[in-house]
Amino acid sequence: MTGSHPVLTMTGISKSFPGVRALDNVDFRLFPGEVHALMGENGAGKSTLIKVLTGVYGTDRGIVTLDGEQVSFAGPMQATAAGVSTVYQEVNLCTNLSVAENIFIGREPRRLGAVRWGEMRRRARALLARLDLDIDVNAQLGSYSLAVQQMVAIARAIDIQARVLVLDEPTSSLDAGEVAQLFRVMRQLRDDGIAILFVTHFLDQVYGIADRITVLRNGQLVGEYATSELPQLSLVEKMIGKELRVLERLDEQPRRDPADGAAGTPLLDVRELGRRSAVAPFSLTIHEGEVVGLAGLLGSGRTEVARLLFGADRADHGSVRVNGSPTSLRTPVAAIGHGIGFCSENRRAEGIVTELSVRENIILALQAARGWLRPLPRRRQDELVERYVRALSIRPADPEIPVGNLSGGNQQKVLLARWLITEPRLLILDEPTRGIDIGAKTEIQRLVAELSDGGMAVLFVSAELEEVLRLSHKIAVMRDREMVAQLTNDQDVDADRIMQSIAAGAGHEGVPS
């Protein structure tokens, strides 16, 4: 790459947790002026490696050097002081403070102990200009989008004279335009000689920006490659360690032909359903066995539609028919009563109860449906849970460990299992594959296909167009909180076509009258 000396090396790193060998003799190096992607499935050891690097964890064995000198950080603060800054997936800033303050708090410019606000604002402006970000440094951080907040976090990180910048899944909540802006910033920093360690689940992004790739699998180093010399398919193979037959099978064709066509009474038929300041009135029908994809950019109203259909938010407009009979979905309890299940986008905050065990999490919805006065017999619980742990290959396959100990993908599967055992007629999946690794992603996609073959209707909300195209019979496109198009997924429809709908907002087709 740059041919110079690596700014950072990690040699023979091993780290064990009780029962788990998280890292096993892993080597890693980082050169100045490169973007280096760290790839691997969930549980491959990426997070552990980063935490070892930034001093959150100590190592069992191995050496870390920075600029040729051996270092061992006692915590993120020490690492930051030494020039190794980390920006996490969740923005760890204070939304109640101003942009300038978020960049400088803890090291504000001062005179005689008094914070020099003018100087701080001036420096914040200069720093943000370097990132090509034109925002009001006096405004509260919370008034900006997550993407901007992420940039501010980066501005904070690089101000500490960072030489190594660790970006841990910074893009998982950004939309395409925001990712592009982030990449521009990353390139700029790279050209300034900063070494960037980039962790992401999005393969396209890796090929869009990374110079080199290090792949981990099961806590072991698979190898380090130049991005240009590693085709995408081989990368995926190296990550999951097996051939891609499963993936390819799914990739064959867009799925067509819902189980019994679009004929007959729709399972769910909503007319002009809407909620003021959340989503404009829309009409949508979903038939038994049909997968309806809901596409659109982040913040386009996808989640709002899903929440309306589940009764999590109350519609103030429109009518709903389930199996032909008029009803209303005013609360989640009503929706569950009609056989509707909802896997939330925000699995940590709204779905998974991390302290409870896998078993308890899985039976939660079924138990709620039965009412708390009729507890599910333990034997029946164990049967059900065991069946779904096996069917969804939830790992580790121990139903009694707390869900918080599972990786993101496996937590998602637990959430799916929770709804599957209630045998819903319509399952709403809001971003079920976000932030999980490619293997688990494929499994979830396959599962969705199988469920719809079995007659379940699925509303599949996703930011990834390929995924929507692959799974859906019908695709509804959201833009600016409005359903702008409904497309039947046939040969004419491809990612470009959907992108056009998103971009133009035109092309109302196949909208049921």
Binding site: E101, I105, E178, A180
Partner: protein, 329 residues
């Protein structure tokens, strides 16, 4: 282009919403004052406002300390008892014949020490501030009765001077020394919150303690500091109260912590932390004081009406905070 689209994603209006509660309080205060002036001729005398400060100077000081605590998202229930204990200890030590200066130093040390200890318990054992300061409240109140079951009068020269000294203009309007001290405390507190690292950390921790930790802020030290500051303010409040009443009584200032919390919240500080100003707290105390004065002027209303009105106002302000969406957590 991308910059433009990012600008467009700003979801809030430019009007800083965090200022809305303070402005609402200011408006309320003006309305109350207007009602007073229009109803009672004597109300327009500036001395009425001065008297509000004279009667509530100690409350203001304690409320300033409470503002620090609430800004971090905490609560301090011990302040009323600490005020009483400080006054009690002063009265007791003065009766025992200790010199006034020494008594002042001792009395001013007790509050912050207790605050520091409570802060340590809250931080190191990760216990709810509510319960820790509740324990502190019982302890301090118990100490009052332990010192003496009945009221102890103060006849010390320094104390009586501080009590009777009037600072005024030729037209006869005046304030007490307590008011000057209270305003000094307000000024120092406002400066601390706006211009020192400690102050900014208070806001950061109230906004998001987890982020504060990851940004390398001294979360523990700051949290302990705010309870110490609250204790110090309660101690100063206790001294001011003993100037005002020239005695220490075991059952004085019972329930005062709740008045103080009400004043801070009406002053626009958000109970979940991260947003609020000392200036708002001054307004909050003024609102309480003006309501009291109005009810006194009326003469026919029971003084419990003060509580009823404050209850209603508190309710309205919490709803206001909710409606304008100041929720950082």
């Amino acid at each position: 282009m991308t910059t433009l689209s990012l600008m467009a994603t700003r979801t809030w209006s430019r009007l800083p919403r965090r200022h809305v509660p303070v402005l609402a309080t200011l408006l309320l205060l003006l309305v109350l004052y207007g009602v007073g002036v229009s109803q009672y001729r004597a109300f327009s005398n500036i001395q009425v406002i001065f008297n509000v400060f004279i009667d509530n100077g100690f409350l203001l000081v304690v409320a300033v300390g409470m503002t620090f605590v609430i800004l971090t998202g905490g609560i301090d229930l011990s302040v009323g008892s600490v005020v009483a204990m400080t006054a009690m200890v002063s009265a007791f030590l003065l009766r025992e014949g200790l010199p006034a200066a020494l008594v002042l130093v001792i009395a001013l040390l007790i509050g912050p020490t207790l605050g520091f200890l409570m802060g340590c318990v809250i931080h190191f054992f990760d216990i709810q501030p509510f319960i820790v300061t509740l324990a502190g409240m019982f302890f301090a109140r118990g100490m009052c009765t332990f010192i003496s079951g009945s009221s102890i009068p103060i006849s010390d020269g320094f104390w009586t001077r501080m009590s009777q000294q009037r600072i005024g203009n030729p037209s006869g309007n005046f304030v007490s020394i307590s008011v000057i001290i209270a305003f000094a405390v307000v000024a120092v507190a406002a400066y601390t919150l706006a211009y020192t690292r400690l102050g900014r950390n208070v806001y950061a921790i109230g906004g998001n303690p987890q982020s504060g930790l990851l940004m390398g802020l001294p979360v523990g030290r700051t949290r302990i500091a705010v309870y110490t500051i609250s204790g110090l303010c309660a101690a100063i409040g206790g001294i001011l109260l003993s100037f005002y009443t020239l005695s220490g009584a075991p059952l004085i200032a019972v329930g005062m912590e709740l008045d103080v919390i009400a004043a801070v919240v009406i002053g626009g500080t958000v109970l979940t932390g991260g947003s609020g100003y000392v200036f708002g707290t001054v307004l909050g105390v003024l609102v309480l004081g003006v309501i009291q004065t109005l009810i006194t002027f009326d003469g026919s209303l029971n003084s419990w009406w003060t509580k009823i009105v404050i209850g209603g106002l508190l309710f309205a302000f919490i709803l206001l905070q909710r409606l304008i969406g100041i929720r950082y957590k």
